[in-house]
Symmetry: C2
Subunit: 240 residues, 2 copies
């Protein structure tokens, strides 16, 4: 299933540089979603695309921006289950209702396609399998994070996800030993990060402050962070 690796929306841990819009704007994409019809819409930040429980009628592909999928418990506890990047597909449903709420984190362009079109195209099926398989892998890693990692390891892993080609088990190490810094944009509030990492907002804030105090990161704006030394952050993810 090596073909699954090519121009796939890489979400986290992938090799494409962020914002490259993998496979979307690219006309020679393996199976561009837009070529199957449907329409593209623009959403503001923090707009709900659909609610958990809504009738599942459409499939969506994120063209640009960031989207999160989350679930709520009746008492208000929230778990963000996926954070999606350009090229990712969402809106799959095993039943006839969406199992999560989908909401943009920042202003985003999203292409939508009627679900009935999916049955017809083998090409589209293949693209779906590819995307689902990749998301599955990300969910597996996230289960390890939620079930077995400490607060520091969770935050370190989260930050490392945003560094293309680094972190995870297959980290290649710094390209340039003398300059292993990197700038990342979180696109998420502390509350959203907390709900993604299974922590409280206070714990996320404290861990970030601690990393700052220890000289691992510099916080330029709440959601704009410079990693001074990617490798030392990577050592804190639990993967090493």
């Amino acid at each position: 299933m090596a073909y699954l690796e090519r121009e796939l929306g890489t979400q986290f841990g992938g090799r494409n540089s962020p914002g490259a819009g993998a496979g979307v704007a690219d006309p020679k994409a393996y199976a561009s979603f837009a070529s199957f019809g449907g329409k593209t819409s623009k959403y503001d930040g923090h707009s709900v695309i659909y609610f958990e429980g809504d009738a599942a009628r459409r499939l969506y592909e994120l063209s640009s921006g960031t989207v999160m999928l989350f679930k709520l418990l009746p008492d208000g506890r929230r778990q963000v289950v996926e954070v999606l990047r350009p090229g990712d597909i969402f809106g799959f449903s095993a039943a006839d209702e969406y199992d999560c709420t989908a909401e943009t984190l920042i202003s985003s362009e999203i292409h939508e396609l009627d679900l009935r079109l999916v049955d017809g195209s083998a090409e589209l099926q293949r693209k779906l399998t590819k995307c689902l398989t990749n998301q599955m892998k990300v969910l597996h890693e996230h289960a390890v994070l939620l079930g077995r990692k400490s607060a520091v390891e969770r935050v370190a892993s989260f930050l490392m996800y945003l560094v293309p080609g680094r972190g995870g088990t297959e980290c290649v190490g710094p390209a340039d030993e003398t300059n292993d810094g990197f700038d990342i944009e979180l696109h998420m509030t502390r509350q959203e990060i907390a709900d993604y990492l299974g922590l409280t907002i206070e714990t996320v804030s404290r861990v970030v402050s601690d990393l700052k105090r220890r000289g691992i990161i510099r916080v330029d704006r709440a959601d704009r962070i410079h990693l001074h030394k990617v490798c030392s952050l990577c050592q804190m993810t639990g993967f090493h």
Copy 2:
């Protein structure tokens, strides 16, 4: 995507009765895996089918028994990321290596298929999409459990998963008000349950003892539990 609901390996929370071997032994199955070739093998309990990092060459369908997928951190922490039931497919890989280790929990029959066959068949593609979508939904619910539920809620949710057609958000309530009991077989040791629920073995043991003391369950054997009143257990899952 309503078609996804039909005779699918339901893992947890589905409607089929357990052991019905949904879609496997059934010759008129939507797209039976065996009809695409490959072979069926018998595995003892606690046998490894493949290791995380092995080259991904085959796709597997569980015909009978139970299989778990897990990941290890270098220091030995383990997270069981999926528990599979008959009809479920595993061995998908987004890269060219398996991202989890697959191990039987009890003696099991497993059908294997060369990955190269997958590209060819649209029918098989559809079956895969269906199965992946369902597993994705289960992973989403599990992320909520791992990220946001208390120890009691986790164990209660785990036990409820093993009661077909009950638990979850869409619980139908007892068929017979006067007799809401049910017998379940865990097929897992306390350690495996702990690693699935993101807890320690001691915490799992204590919660089970507590449910026993409170008259919610009766423990016939360590892995054979009678639920006296399914509804009251369901009230403890966090879903209500």
